[in-house]
């Protein structure tokens, strides 16, 4: 395929390309200041998280309420390895991913045999246990005091004879670093969803019985999905730890899981572009609400009131999200209508 044959692109492709170019150029426009860059880094971080979470509810149709557990595992893996062993960011990233994936397999293998509801509640329990562990095992994690003194991300050019660049307080460098991570995540997700693996997941999501009949091993494919999702959660956690340099357990509470779930529901379950859009919208909205709520005399955390309402309204009116994909939309929306039609037909025949 010749990627320069422009006629093959749809309008959506040009929009995506435009967004990418805009994101690359943003730091050089007059809009850019420290606050804007910080918000954008946050958006990119949540994009990785949302893309990672999307694998389980979006691609497999299973509700995962404990995603933040893997985020926390990744962050503490990175934090501890940096503080105790001084490993480089680029070594830690895959190590965190592997650790996340291991926990994903350990948790997923016994529980993914069960129905979706049980799975949801087990993941919730798991993430609570992770937070309890981090809070209580003070010998390892320093507990609620937080783990300080984590080095910022670095780019090591010494093997080329160049310097080691520490991205400390360097929003611009971190901005491009995390953008690169988003692009890698996006590339992986894009390739996976068009692979044999992705097709198997979609089959499971659309109809488990039919998928089994086609010879898809449900448990294996679900565990793979859960492990991949966990690995990306852990990567995001590792980046987070190196970026903020101080981590504490209260960054990994259930609220975070819910926030990320909101993003993928708003953007469109199963649509990688949609969940990125959802992340961008909700992080920006969060920043806006942070300014507005105190003016109304409300505590800052009450912004979750809107997110909760948003979820209920979305499920009622547009359950497949802002950028729906056809399969999810068909399932989520027309079930009731299809049944109604069936009853009517039966009624008239009788």
């Amino acid at each position: 395929m010749n990627i320069l044959a422009f006629s093959q692109y749809e309008r959506a492709d040009w929009v995506r390309l435009g967004c990418l170019v805009a994101a690359i150029l943003l730091p050089f426009t007059p809009l850019a200041n420290e606050y804007v860059l910080h918000t954008c880094i946050l958006i990119f971080l949540y994009m990785i998280l949302a893309l990672g979470l999307n694998v389980v509810p979006g691609f497999n149709g299973l509700l995962d309420l404990g995603y933040v557990g893997f985020y926390g595992i990744g962050a503490y893996t990175a934090g501890l390895l940096t503080v105790h062993y001084g490993l480089s960011f680029w070594v830690i990233l895959p190590l965190a991913a592997i650790n996340g994936a291991i926990w994903g397999v350990l948790l997923g293998a016994p529980t993914l045999r069960l129905t979706g509801d049980y799975f949801a509640i087990v993941t919730f329990g798991f993430s609570e246990l992770v937070v309890l562990f981090i809070t209580n095992e003070t010998w390892l994690t320093r507990g609620p005091l937080g783990l300080p003194g984590i080095d910022p991300p670095s780019i090591d050019l010494s093997w080329l004879g160049g310097p080691v660049i520490w991205l400390e307080g360097d929003s611009l460098g971190v901005y491009y670093l995390v953008m690169a991570l988003v692009l890698v995540t996006l590339f992986v997700m894009y390739r996976i969803q068009n692979s044999r693996l992705g097709r198997a997941w979609f089959a499971i999501r659309d109809d488990e019985l039919a998928a089994v009949s086609c010879g898809i091993n449900l448990l294996v494919y679900k565990v793979i999905a859960f492990a991949i999702s966990a690995a990306f959660g852990a990567v995001a956690g590792a980046f987070y730890a190196r970026w903020v340099t101080v981590i504490s357990p209260d960054a990994f509470l259930f609220w975070e899981s819910f926030f990320i779930l909101c993003m993928i529901v708003l953007g469109g379950l199963g649509n990688i572009w949609g969940v990125m859009l959802g992340a961008a919208i909700l992080v920006s909205l969060g920043e806006v609400l942070r300014e507005i709520l105190p003016l109304l005399g409300l505590p800052e955390n009450s912004r979750f009131l809107f997110y909760g309402l948003l979820m209920v309204v979305m499920m009622r009116l547009r359950p497949a999200g802002m950028l729906p994909i056809a399969a999810v939309a068909a399932q989520m929306k027309t079930t009731s209508k299809r049944r109604l039609a069936w009853f009517k037909k039966k009624g008239s025949a009788a």
Binding site: D117, Y118, I121, F126, L132, F258, F304, M311, M332, S336
Partner: protein, 298 residues
């Protein structure tokens, strides 16, 4: 020590049992984990607190009134949030349940503030903190005895409703097969709403008792208690009312003993660990049957 922990555990267990019954009843009729149930429990406690401190109502009047209000909340929850999604995939209903839970939590936080509020002790019956009787060397307060009696009475009442009344029969029918129930003339939606009302009332009772027992009511109280009670429902076998009662007591006792002998830091962790272990090793629970997904998972 052991006896004291055991008594604490039974008190706590009774409360978990009351909440767990709400989860299990709703799951029985519509196969939905009603995540917002913990929030109804929290609202019940706040209602009672408000009735007592703002309107100077006697404790028992406030208790009954809050149960009624929580029942209405439960019905509203069903009608507004869940009924439109009755035929939607499970994922949609679960996400709505989570959304409602978070919404109600934050609503309570906005209305009553996020800091724990003490239960007005001067309005509670004075004998609550006096010793009712002594077992071994451990004194049991009237409040503890009252919690235990309440649990037993409500459970017995619930059993009567389920097994001896027409509504109860309709509930059992709907739990077995919604289509068949509709065919024999049962108003399925109405029965489901009544189930939510019953669950809400029992949850509120638990919330008020906890508020009085620990002397603190706060918006996040439903979040942890809800999950623990769900663990109790799972332990008993979800969908089974006697199972939920037994599960509640077992979990309460396990938690009290675990906190006493193992580590109080992992107090909440014990419930989560029990829940995960039960789900992995005996997913049917003590009294339940293995649930097969009748609908597609999404």
């Amino acid at each position: 020590m052991f006896l004291e922990l055991l008594i604490n555990g039974i008190t706590l267990g009774g409360i978990y049992a009351l909440i767990a019954v709400g989860y299990t009843m709703v799951y029985g009729v519509i196969q939905l984990i009603n995540f917002a149930h913990g929030e109804i429990y929290m609202l019940g406690a706040f209602f009672a607190l408000t009735f007592i401190s703002a309107f100077n109502m006697p404790f028992f009047v406030a208790f009954a009134l809050s149960m009624g209000c929580a029942a209405i909340c439960g019905m509203l929850l069903d009608v507004v949030a869940y009924r439109p999604l009755r035929n939607s995939p499970r994922l949609a209903a679960l996400i709505t349940a989570i959304g409602m839970s978070i919404f109600l939590q934050n609503l309570a936080m906005i209305i009553w503030g996020s800091r724990p509020m003490p239960f007005p002790q001067e309005h509670l019956p004075a004998y609550f903190n006096q010793t009712a009787f002594v077992v071994g060397e451990t004194p049991i307060s009237w409040l503890q005895a009252y919690i235990f009696i309440c649990t037993i009475v409500f459970m017995a009442g619930l059993n009567l409703i389920i097994h001896k009344t027409k509504v109860g029969k309709a509930m059992r029918a709907v739990a077995q097969n919604k289509t068949m129930a509709a065919l024999v003339g049962i108003n399925v939606n109405q029965v489901i709403t009544v189930t939510f009302a019953l669950a809400g009332a029992l949850g509120a009772a638990a919330g008020i008792l906890v508020g009085a027992y620990y002397n603190s009511v706060y918006p996040l109280m439903g979040y942890i208690a809800g999950v623990k009670a769900f663990a109790a429902a799972v332990l008993g076998g979800i969908g089974s009312v006697p199972g939920a009662m037994l599960g509640g007591f077992i979990l309460g006792i396990a938690e009290a003993l675990g906190a006493g002998y193992l580590s109080s830091l992992y107090r909440d962790g014990i419930s989560y660990a029990v829940m995960i272990a039960v789900i992995i090793f005996i997913p049917a629970g003590l009294f339940g049957k293995i649930i097969r997904e009748t609908k597609k998972s999404m």
